[in-house]
Protein backbone atom coordinates (compact mmCIF):
# COMPACT_ATOMS: atom_id res chain seq x y z
CA UNK A 1 0.00 0.00 0.00
CA UNK A 2 1.42 3.36 -0.92
CA UNK A 3 1.18 6.39 1.32
CA UNK A 4 -0.28 6.90 4.75
CA UNK A 5 -3.71 5.42 5.44
CA UNK A 6 -6.34 8.07 6.10
CA UNK A 7 -9.18 7.58 8.56
CA UNK A 8 -12.51 9.25 7.93
CA UNK A 9 -15.77 8.94 9.82
CA UNK A 10 -19.18 9.87 8.47
CA UNK A 11 -21.29 12.36 10.42
CA UNK A 12 -24.10 9.94 11.21
CA UNK A 13 -21.72 7.36 12.62
CA UNK A 14 -19.87 10.04 14.61
CA UNK A 15 -23.04 11.48 16.11
CA UNK A 16 -24.44 8.04 16.99
CA UNK A 17 -21.29 7.23 18.95
CA UNK A 18 -21.31 10.44 20.98
CA UNK A 19 -25.06 10.37 21.65
CA UNK A 20 -24.75 6.79 22.89
CA UNK A 21 -22.01 7.79 25.32
CA UNK A 22 -24.09 10.74 26.51
CA UNK A 23 -27.12 8.57 27.10
CA UNK A 24 -25.15 6.47 29.56
CA UNK A 25 -22.97 9.04 31.28
CA UNK A 26 -22.22 6.88 34.28
CA UNK A 27 -21.11 3.77 32.41
CA UNK A 28 -18.53 2.62 29.93
CA UNK A 29 -20.06 2.11 26.50
CA UNK A 30 -18.87 0.62 23.26
CA UNK A 31 -19.81 0.29 19.60
CA UNK A 32 -18.65 -1.32 16.38
CA UNK A 33 -17.62 0.69 13.38
CA UNK A 34 -18.78 -0.33 9.93
CA UNK A 35 -17.33 0.71 6.61
CA UNK A 36 -14.80 -0.17 3.99
CA UNK A 37 -11.36 0.55 2.67
CA UNK A 38 -11.44 2.89 -0.31
CA UNK A 39 -8.73 3.62 -2.85
CA UNK A 40 -8.98 6.92 -4.67
CA UNK A 41 -7.69 7.80 -8.12
CA UNK A 42 -4.48 9.30 -6.74
CA UNK A 43 -3.61 5.98 -5.15
CA UNK A 44 -4.28 7.07 -1.56
CA UNK A 45 -6.21 4.81 0.76
CA UNK A 46 -8.91 5.83 3.18
CA UNK A 47 -10.65 3.79 5.83
CA UNK A 48 -14.18 5.10 5.53
CA UNK A 49 -16.26 4.57 8.63
CA UNK A 50 -19.79 5.00 7.28
CA UNK A 51 -21.89 3.72 10.12
CA UNK A 52 -21.75 2.59 13.72
CA UNK A 53 -23.83 0.27 15.87
CA UNK A 54 -23.86 1.14 19.57
CA UNK A 55 -23.43 -2.07 21.51
CA UNK A 56 -23.56 -2.11 25.31
CA UNK A 57 -23.69 0.05 28.40
CA UNK A 58 -23.49 -2.61 31.11
CA UNK A 59 -21.01 -5.43 31.79
CA UNK A 60 -19.45 -4.73 28.44
CA UNK A 61 -16.71 -7.32 28.72
CA UNK A 62 -19.00 -10.33 28.67
CA UNK A 63 -18.78 -12.49 25.56
CA UNK A 64 -22.28 -13.89 24.88
CA UNK A 65 -24.02 -10.60 24.05
CA UNK A 66 -20.96 -9.45 22.07
CA UNK A 67 -20.94 -12.63 19.98
CA UNK A 68 -24.64 -12.40 19.23
CA UNK A 69 -24.28 -8.75 18.26
CA UNK A 70 -21.30 -9.31 15.97
CA UNK A 71 -22.96 -12.21 14.15
CA UNK A 72 -26.05 -10.18 13.35
CA UNK A 73 -24.18 -6.96 12.56
CA UNK A 74 -21.77 -8.66 10.20
CA UNK A 75 -24.63 -10.38 8.44
CA UNK A 76 -26.61 -7.17 7.96
CA UNK A 77 -23.79 -4.96 6.80
CA UNK A 78 -22.13 -7.67 4.75
CA UNK A 79 -25.14 -7.58 2.46
CA UNK A 80 -24.38 -3.88 1.91
CA UNK A 81 -20.74 -4.52 1.11
CA UNK A 82 -19.57 -3.09 4.43
CA UNK A 83 -17.61 -4.85 7.12
CA UNK A 84 -16.60 -4.34 10.72
CA UNK A 85 -13.64 -1.99 10.45
CA UNK A 86 -13.17 -0.87 14.01
CA UNK A 87 -14.28 -0.50 17.59
CA UNK A 88 -15.36 2.46 19.68
CA UNK A 89 -15.02 2.73 23.44
CA UNK A 90 -15.93 5.36 26.00
CA UNK A 91 -14.51 5.02 29.51
CA UNK A 92 -16.63 5.08 32.63
CA UNK A 93 -14.71 7.87 34.34
CA UNK A 94 -14.35 11.40 33.00
CA UNK A 95 -10.63 11.72 33.61
CA UNK A 96 -9.71 8.27 32.37
CA UNK A 97 -8.04 8.80 29.00
CA UNK A 98 -6.40 5.40 28.76
CA UNK A 99 -7.25 2.72 26.25
CA UNK A 100 -8.42 -0.13 28.45
CA UNK A 101 -7.38 -3.74 27.97
CA UNK A 102 -10.98 -4.57 27.09
CA UNK A 103 -10.83 -2.16 24.18
CA UNK A 104 -7.47 -3.56 23.09
CA UNK A 105 -8.78 -7.14 23.27
CA UNK A 106 -11.80 -6.43 21.14
CA UNK A 107 -9.62 -4.36 18.82
CA UNK A 108 -7.27 -7.32 18.50
CA UNK A 109 -10.16 -9.57 17.59
CA UNK A 110 -11.31 -7.21 14.83
CA UNK A 111 -7.72 -6.72 13.65
CA UNK A 112 -7.43 -10.46 13.04
CA UNK A 113 -10.02 -10.21 10.30
CA UNK A 114 -9.27 -6.64 9.16
CA UNK A 115 -5.68 -5.48 9.54
CA UNK A 116 -6.46 -1.79 9.02
CA UNK A 117 -8.81 -1.82 12.00
CA UNK A 118 -9.24 1.39 13.95
CA UNK A 119 -9.92 1.69 17.66
CA UNK A 120 -11.50 4.95 18.75
CA UNK A 121 -11.67 6.27 22.30
CA UNK A 122 -14.05 9.04 23.32
CA UNK A 123 -12.15 12.13 24.45
CA UNK A 124 -14.20 13.31 27.43
CA UNK A 125 -12.32 16.56 27.92
CA UNK A 126 -12.70 17.49 24.25
CA UNK A 127 -16.39 16.69 24.40
CA UNK A 128 -16.80 18.86 27.48
CA UNK A 129 -15.18 21.88 25.80
CA UNK A 130 -17.02 21.38 22.52
CA UNK A 131 -19.68 24.07 23.11
CA UNK A 132 -16.99 26.60 23.94
CA UNK A 133 -15.02 26.47 20.72
CA UNK A 134 -15.35 26.11 16.99
CA UNK A 135 -13.33 22.93 16.76
CA UNK A 136 -14.16 20.83 13.74
CA UNK A 137 -12.09 17.84 14.72
CA UNK A 138 -13.81 14.84 16.26
CA UNK A 139 -14.04 14.55 20.06
CA UNK A 140 -12.27 11.24 19.79
CA UNK A 141 -8.81 9.73 19.84
CA UNK A 142 -7.75 7.26 17.18
CA UNK A 143 -5.60 4.21 17.82
CA UNK A 144 -4.10 1.97 15.16
CA UNK A 145 -1.78 -1.02 15.24
CA UNK A 146 1.86 -0.16 14.76
CA UNK A 147 4.62 -2.33 13.39
CA UNK A 148 5.21 -3.97 16.77
CA UNK A 149 1.50 -4.89 16.97
CA UNK A 150 0.71 -2.42 19.75
CA UNK A 151 -2.23 -0.07 19.70
CA UNK A 152 -0.65 3.32 19.11
CA UNK A 153 -2.26 6.71 19.56
CA UNK A 154 -2.53 8.27 16.13
CA UNK A 155 -1.24 11.76 15.58
CA UNK A 156 1.43 11.51 18.26
CA UNK A 157 4.10 11.08 15.62
CA UNK A 158 2.52 12.90 12.75
CA UNK A 159 0.54 9.92 11.53
CA UNK A 160 -2.99 10.22 10.23
CA UNK A 161 -5.60 11.67 12.53
CA UNK A 162 -9.27 10.88 12.36
CA UNK A 163 -11.31 13.34 10.32
CA UNK A 164 -15.04 13.76 9.97
CA UNK A 165 -16.37 13.61 6.43
CA UNK A 166 -18.84 16.46 6.89
CA UNK A 167 -17.10 19.60 8.20
CA UNK A 168 -20.09 20.89 10.14
CA UNK A 169 -20.64 17.67 12.08
CA UNK A 170 -19.81 19.24 15.45
CA UNK A 171 -22.40 21.96 14.88
CA UNK A 172 -25.04 19.33 14.19
CA UNK A 173 -23.85 17.35 17.21
CA UNK A 174 -24.16 20.34 19.55
CA UNK A 175 -27.66 20.88 18.24
CA UNK A 176 -28.64 17.29 19.04
CA UNK A 177 -27.06 17.54 22.47
CA UNK A 178 -29.08 20.67 23.22
CA UNK A 179 -32.28 18.89 22.24
CA UNK A 180 -31.32 15.82 24.35
CA UNK A 181 -31.47 13.63 21.25
CA UNK A 182 -29.48 10.95 23.06
CA UNK A 183 -32.70 9.71 24.62
CA UNK A 184 -33.70 8.26 21.26
CA UNK A 185 -30.63 6.17 20.62
CA UNK A 186 -30.94 2.37 20.88
CA UNK A 187 -28.05 0.03 21.50
CA UNK A 188 -27.76 -3.75 21.41
CA UNK A 189 -28.28 -3.95 25.18
CA UNK A 190 -31.63 -2.18 24.74
CA UNK A 191 -32.50 -4.58 21.92
CA UNK A 192 -31.73 -7.66 24.02
CA UNK A 193 -33.91 -6.26 26.81
CA UNK A 194 -36.75 -5.50 24.40
CA UNK A 195 -36.30 -6.85 20.89
CA UNK A 196 -38.83 -4.46 19.43
CA UNK A 197 -36.13 -1.79 19.84
CA UNK A 198 -34.07 -1.59 16.67
CA UNK A 199 -30.27 -1.36 17.03
CA UNK A 200 -30.07 0.01 13.50
CA UNK A 201 -31.64 3.26 14.76
CA UNK A 202 -33.45 3.80 11.43
CA UNK A 203 -35.54 6.72 12.70
CA UNK A 204 -32.78 8.55 14.55
CA UNK A 205 -31.86 11.11 11.91
CA UNK A 206 -35.24 11.47 10.27
Amino acid sequence: MGGELKYEIAQNAYIKLVLHALKHKTAAVNAVLLGRLVTSTDGSHTLQISDAVPLFHSQITLLPPLEIALIQIEEYYGAQDMGIVGYFHANERFDDAELSSVAKNIGDHIYRYFPQAAVILLDNKKLESLPKGKDRSPVMQLYTKDASKNWRHAGSDGSSQLTIKEPSANVVLLDYIASEKWQDIIDFDDHLDDISKDWLNPELFK
Binding site: I68, Y76, S196
Partner: protein, 300 residues
Amino acid sequence: MVTKTEETELNRLEIQVDNGGGGAWEYLCLVRKLKVRRSDKVLKHGLSILNDPKKRSNLGPEEWTLYEQVAVAAMDCQCLDVAKDCIKVLQKRFPESKRVGRLEGMLLESKGSWAEAEKAYSSLLEENPFDQVVLKRRVAMAKAQGNMSGAIEWLNKYLETFMADHDAWRELAEIYVSLQMYKQAAYCYEELILSQPTLPLYHLAYAEVLYTLGGLENLQTAKKYYASTIDLTGGKNTRALFGICLCTSAIGQLTKGRNKEEKESPELHSLAATALEKIYKQRAPTKLPLLNSALKGLKI
Protein backbone atom coordinates in the same frame (compact mmCIF):
# COMPACT_ATOMS: atom_id res chain seq x y z
CA MET B 1 -32.96 -3.51 41.20
CA VAL B 2 -36.20 -2.46 39.63
CA THR B 3 -38.94 -4.58 38.11
CA LYS B 4 -40.41 -3.77 34.70
CA THR B 5 -43.72 -2.66 36.29
CA GLU B 6 -41.91 -0.36 38.69
CA GLU B 7 -39.85 1.12 35.85
CA THR B 8 -42.93 1.69 33.70
CA GLU B 9 -44.68 3.48 36.55
CA LEU B 10 -41.60 5.58 37.24
CA ASN B 11 -41.28 6.58 33.57
CA ARG B 12 -44.97 7.39 33.39
CA LEU B 13 -44.68 9.70 36.39
CA GLU B 14 -41.51 11.26 35.00
CA ILE B 15 -43.16 12.12 31.69
CA GLN B 16 -46.17 13.50 33.57
CA VAL B 17 -44.05 15.77 35.74
CA ASP B 18 -41.84 16.80 32.82
CA ASN B 19 -44.88 17.97 30.90
CA GLY B 20 -46.26 20.03 33.79
CA GLY B 21 -48.90 17.52 34.84
CA GLY B 22 -47.93 17.65 38.51
CA GLY B 23 -46.97 14.75 40.76
CA ALA B 24 -43.43 15.93 41.41
CA TRP B 25 -43.41 14.88 45.08
CA GLU B 26 -44.81 11.46 44.17
CA TYR B 27 -42.10 11.06 41.56
CA LEU B 28 -39.33 12.09 43.96
CA CYS B 29 -40.59 9.64 46.60
CA LEU B 30 -40.67 6.82 44.08
CA VAL B 31 -37.11 7.60 42.94
CA ARG B 32 -36.03 7.48 46.58
CA LYS B 33 -37.85 4.23 47.22
CA LEU B 34 -36.52 2.46 44.12
CA LYS B 35 -33.02 3.90 44.64
CA VAL B 36 -32.63 4.76 40.97
CA ARG B 37 -30.22 7.34 39.66
CA ARG B 38 -32.16 10.09 37.85
CA SER B 39 -30.21 13.01 39.18
CA ASP B 40 -30.98 15.61 36.52
CA LYS B 41 -34.74 15.10 36.94
CA VAL B 42 -34.51 14.98 40.74
CA LEU B 43 -32.52 18.20 40.72
CA LYS B 44 -34.95 19.97 38.41
CA HIS B 45 -38.17 18.92 40.08
CA GLY B 46 -36.81 18.89 43.62
CA LEU B 47 -35.60 22.46 43.29
CA SER B 48 -38.96 23.57 41.92
CA ILE B 49 -40.55 22.39 45.16
CA LEU B 50 -37.80 23.73 47.45
CA ASN B 51 -37.76 27.15 45.82
CA ASP B 52 -41.49 27.57 46.33
CA PRO B 53 -42.12 28.46 50.01
CA LYS B 54 -45.73 27.28 49.91
CA LYS B 55 -44.89 23.89 48.37
CA ARG B 56 -42.00 23.55 50.80
CA SER B 57 -44.11 24.12 53.90
CA ASN B 58 -46.67 21.63 52.61
CA LEU B 59 -44.04 18.94 52.94
CA GLY B 60 -43.79 19.30 56.71
CA PRO B 61 -40.95 17.28 58.19
CA GLU B 62 -40.31 15.62 54.81
CA GLU B 63 -38.78 18.91 53.72
CA TRP B 64 -35.41 17.84 55.15
CA THR B 65 -35.49 14.53 53.30
CA LEU B 66 -35.99 16.46 50.10
CA TYR B 67 -33.05 18.75 50.86
CA GLU B 68 -30.92 15.68 51.30
CA GLN B 69 -32.18 14.08 48.09
CA VAL B 70 -31.64 17.26 46.08
CA ALA B 71 -28.17 17.76 47.59
CA VAL B 72 -27.05 14.34 46.40
CA ALA B 73 -28.64 14.84 42.97
CA ALA B 74 -26.95 18.24 42.66
CA MET B 75 -23.58 16.68 43.43
CA ASP B 76 -24.19 14.04 40.79
CA CYS B 77 -24.88 16.78 38.26
CA GLN B 78 -21.86 18.81 39.42
CA CYS B 79 -24.08 21.69 40.58
CA LEU B 80 -21.98 22.14 43.68
CA ASP B 81 -23.43 25.53 44.68
CA VAL B 82 -26.92 24.06 44.88
CA ALA B 83 -25.56 21.15 46.89
CA LYS B 84 -23.73 23.48 49.25
CA ASP B 85 -26.88 25.53 49.84
CA CYS B 86 -28.97 22.46 50.61
CA ILE B 87 -26.36 21.14 52.99
CA LYS B 88 -26.12 24.55 54.74
CA VAL B 89 -29.88 24.45 55.37
CA LEU B 90 -29.57 20.96 56.81
CA GLN B 91 -26.56 21.95 58.94
CA LYS B 92 -28.56 24.81 60.46
CA ARG B 93 -31.50 22.56 61.25
CA PHE B 94 -29.48 19.55 62.43
CA PRO B 95 -26.17 20.77 63.86
CA GLU B 96 -23.75 17.97 64.82
CA SER B 97 -25.72 15.47 62.74
CA LYS B 98 -23.79 12.45 61.40
CA ARG B 99 -26.18 12.20 58.47
CA VAL B 100 -25.34 15.76 57.46
CA GLY B 101 -21.68 14.98 58.12
CA ARG B 102 -21.90 12.32 55.42
CA LEU B 103 -23.26 14.86 52.97
CA GLU B 104 -20.36 17.17 53.80
CA GLY B 105 -18.01 14.31 53.06
CA MET B 106 -19.73 13.70 49.75
CA LEU B 107 -19.44 17.38 48.86
CA LEU B 108 -15.69 17.18 49.40
CA GLU B 109 -15.68 14.11 47.17
CA SER B 110 -17.53 15.87 44.40
CA LYS B 111 -15.00 18.70 44.52
CA GLY B 112 -12.23 16.17 44.10
CA SER B 113 -10.79 16.92 47.55
CA TRP B 114 -10.09 13.28 48.19
CA ALA B 115 -7.78 13.66 51.16
CA GLU B 116 -10.20 15.92 53.02
CA ALA B 117 -13.11 13.64 52.23
CA GLU B 118 -11.12 10.67 53.53
CA LYS B 119 -10.41 12.63 56.74
CA ALA B 120 -14.10 13.46 57.16
CA TYR B 121 -15.15 9.86 56.63
CA SER B 122 -12.45 8.52 58.96
CA SER B 123 -13.68 10.71 61.79
CA LEU B 124 -17.26 9.63 61.16
CA LEU B 125 -16.11 6.02 61.26
CA GLU B 126 -14.27 6.58 64.55
CA GLU B 127 -17.61 7.33 66.17
CA ASN B 128 -19.45 4.57 64.32
CA PRO B 129 -17.20 2.00 62.66
CA PHE B 130 -20.21 0.21 61.21
CA ASP B 131 -21.66 3.09 59.26
CA GLN B 132 -22.52 1.30 56.03
CA VAL B 133 -23.03 4.43 53.98
CA VAL B 134 -19.61 5.85 54.88
CA LEU B 135 -17.89 2.51 54.35
CA LYS B 136 -19.40 2.40 50.88
CA ARG B 137 -18.35 5.98 50.20
CA ARG B 138 -14.78 4.83 50.74
CA VAL B 139 -15.25 2.25 48.01
CA ALA B 140 -16.83 4.85 45.74
CA MET B 141 -13.92 7.26 46.30
CA ALA B 142 -11.40 4.61 45.38
CA LYS B 143 -13.36 3.79 42.25
CA ALA B 144 -13.73 7.46 41.32
CA GLN B 145 -9.97 7.92 41.47
CA GLY B 146 -9.43 4.88 39.28
CA ASN B 147 -7.99 2.90 42.16
CA MET B 148 -9.75 -0.34 41.30
CA SER B 149 -7.62 -2.58 43.50
CA GLY B 150 -8.34 -0.25 46.42
CA ALA B 151 -12.05 -0.34 45.67
CA ILE B 152 -11.95 -4.14 45.55
CA GLU B 153 -10.05 -4.30 48.85
CA TRP B 154 -12.45 -1.99 50.68
CA LEU B 155 -15.50 -3.69 49.21
CA ASN B 156 -14.27 -7.15 50.21
CA LYS B 157 -13.61 -5.86 53.74
CA TYR B 158 -17.11 -4.40 53.81
CA LEU B 159 -18.63 -7.70 52.70
CA GLU B 160 -16.82 -9.59 55.47
CA THR B 161 -19.03 -7.69 57.90
CA PHE B 162 -22.12 -7.10 55.82
CA MET B 163 -22.29 -10.30 53.81
CA ALA B 164 -26.05 -9.99 53.27
CA ASP B 165 -25.72 -6.76 51.29
CA HIS B 166 -26.73 -7.96 47.85
CA ASP B 167 -26.12 -4.62 46.17
CA ALA B 168 -22.55 -4.71 47.41
CA TRP B 169 -22.00 -8.22 46.01
CA ARG B 170 -23.41 -7.06 42.68
CA GLU B 171 -21.17 -4.00 42.66
CA LEU B 172 -18.14 -6.18 43.40
CA ALA B 173 -19.11 -8.62 40.65
CA GLU B 174 -19.47 -5.79 38.16
CA ILE B 175 -16.10 -4.34 39.12
CA TYR B 176 -14.51 -7.76 38.61
CA VAL B 177 -16.22 -8.12 35.22
CA SER B 178 -15.02 -4.69 34.13
CA LEU B 179 -11.47 -5.78 34.99
CA GLN B 180 -11.98 -9.13 33.21
CA MET B 181 -11.46 -10.99 36.52
CA TYR B 182 -14.18 -13.48 35.66
CA LYS B 183 -13.37 -16.18 38.22
CA GLN B 184 -13.80 -13.69 41.04
CA ALA B 185 -16.97 -12.34 39.46
CA ALA B 186 -18.34 -15.88 39.26
CA TYR B 187 -17.72 -16.29 43.00
CA CYS B 188 -19.80 -13.17 43.72
CA TYR B 189 -22.68 -14.43 41.60
CA GLU B 190 -22.50 -17.79 43.35
CA GLU B 191 -22.97 -15.99 46.68
CA LEU B 192 -25.92 -14.08 45.24
CA ILE B 193 -27.58 -17.20 43.82
CA LEU B 194 -27.15 -18.95 47.18
CA SER B 195 -28.86 -16.14 49.04
CA GLN B 196 -31.56 -15.36 46.46
CA PRO B 197 -31.96 -18.51 44.32
CA THR B 198 -35.16 -17.40 42.63
CA LEU B 199 -33.83 -14.20 41.10
CA PRO B 200 -33.22 -14.92 37.41
CA LEU B 201 -30.88 -11.93 37.04
CA TYR B 202 -28.19 -13.72 39.04
CA HIS B 203 -28.55 -16.99 37.13
CA LEU B 204 -28.21 -15.08 33.87
CA ALA B 205 -25.21 -13.05 34.98
CA TYR B 206 -23.51 -16.21 36.31
CA ALA B 207 -24.11 -18.01 33.01
CA GLU B 208 -22.68 -15.11 31.00
CA VAL B 209 -19.54 -14.96 33.16
CA LEU B 210 -19.03 -18.73 32.91
CA TYR B 211 -19.41 -18.62 29.14
CA THR B 212 -16.85 -15.82 29.00
CA LEU B 213 -14.45 -17.87 31.13
CA GLY B 214 -14.77 -20.70 28.63
CA GLY B 215 -13.71 -24.32 28.83
CA LEU B 216 -15.97 -27.32 28.55
CA GLU B 217 -17.03 -27.55 32.18
CA ASN B 218 -17.85 -23.85 32.43
CA LEU B 219 -19.82 -23.97 29.19
CA GLN B 220 -21.84 -26.92 30.42
CA THR B 221 -22.59 -25.17 33.70
CA ALA B 222 -23.40 -21.95 31.85
CA LYS B 223 -25.92 -23.85 29.78
CA LYS B 224 -27.56 -25.12 32.98
CA TYR B 225 -27.88 -21.60 34.36
CA TYR B 226 -29.20 -20.22 31.09
CA ALA B 227 -31.78 -23.00 31.33
CA SER B 228 -32.70 -22.08 34.90
CA THR B 229 -33.03 -18.43 33.81
CA ILE B 230 -35.47 -19.49 31.11
CA ASP B 231 -37.32 -21.51 33.73
CA LEU B 232 -37.53 -18.60 36.14
CA THR B 233 -38.62 -16.12 33.47
CA GLY B 234 -41.20 -18.27 31.74
CA GLY B 235 -39.12 -18.46 28.58
CA LYS B 236 -39.27 -14.75 27.96
CA ASN B 237 -35.64 -13.83 28.46
CA THR B 238 -34.03 -13.31 25.06
CA ARG B 239 -30.47 -13.29 26.43
CA ALA B 240 -30.95 -16.70 28.02
CA LEU B 241 -32.43 -18.16 24.85
CA PHE B 242 -29.46 -16.90 22.83
CA GLY B 243 -27.20 -18.19 25.57
CA ILE B 244 -28.46 -21.74 25.13
CA CYS B 245 -27.72 -21.60 21.41
CA LEU B 246 -24.24 -20.14 21.97
CA CYS B 247 -23.42 -22.74 24.61
CA THR B 248 -24.61 -25.66 22.54
CA SER B 249 -22.60 -24.46 19.59
CA ALA B 250 -19.45 -23.85 21.63
CA ILE B 251 -19.75 -27.20 23.43
CA GLY B 252 -20.28 -28.88 20.08
CA GLN B 253 -17.05 -27.34 18.79
CA LEU B 254 -15.10 -28.52 21.83
CA THR B 255 -16.47 -32.06 21.76
CA LYS B 256 -16.03 -32.61 18.04
CA GLY B 257 -14.80 -36.08 17.36
CA ARG B 258 -15.57 -37.36 20.82
CA ASN B 259 -17.81 -40.29 21.70
CA LYS B 260 -21.47 -39.97 20.95
CA GLU B 261 -22.36 -40.38 24.68
CA GLU B 262 -20.50 -37.21 25.54
CA LYS B 263 -22.36 -35.17 22.95
CA GLU B 264 -25.16 -32.91 24.09
CA SER B 265 -28.71 -33.59 23.09
CA PRO B 266 -29.88 -30.96 20.63
CA GLU B 267 -33.38 -30.65 22.05
CA LEU B 268 -32.74 -27.69 24.30
CA HIS B 269 -31.01 -25.86 21.47
CA SER B 270 -33.87 -26.38 19.02
CA LEU B 271 -36.43 -25.42 21.66
CA ALA B 272 -34.54 -22.20 22.32
CA ALA B 273 -34.15 -21.48 18.61
CA THR B 274 -37.87 -22.02 18.02
CA ALA B 275 -38.74 -19.78 20.95
CA LEU B 276 -36.45 -17.05 19.57
CA GLU B 277 -38.03 -17.29 16.14
CA LYS B 278 -41.46 -16.95 17.65
CA ILE B 279 -40.49 -13.92 19.71
CA TYR B 280 -38.80 -12.19 16.78
CA LYS B 281 -41.69 -12.92 14.45
CA GLN B 282 -44.01 -11.28 16.93
CA ARG B 283 -42.02 -8.28 18.02
CA ALA B 284 -39.16 -7.66 15.60
CA PRO B 285 -40.20 -9.16 12.27
CA THR B 286 -37.73 -7.06 10.28
CA LYS B 287 -34.90 -8.76 12.15
CA LEU B 288 -36.20 -12.28 11.57
CA PRO B 289 -33.99 -13.06 8.55
CA LEU B 290 -30.91 -11.89 10.50
CA LEU B 291 -31.94 -14.07 13.43
CA ASN B 292 -32.40 -17.07 11.19
CA SER B 293 -28.96 -16.81 9.62
CA ALA B 294 -27.41 -16.25 13.05
CA LEU B 295 -29.09 -19.39 14.36
CA LYS B 296 -28.06 -21.30 11.25
CA GLY B 297 -24.45 -20.39 12.00
CA LEU B 298 -24.83 -21.67 15.54
CA LYS B 299 -26.28 -25.04 14.55
CA ILE B 300 -24.16 -27.93 15.70
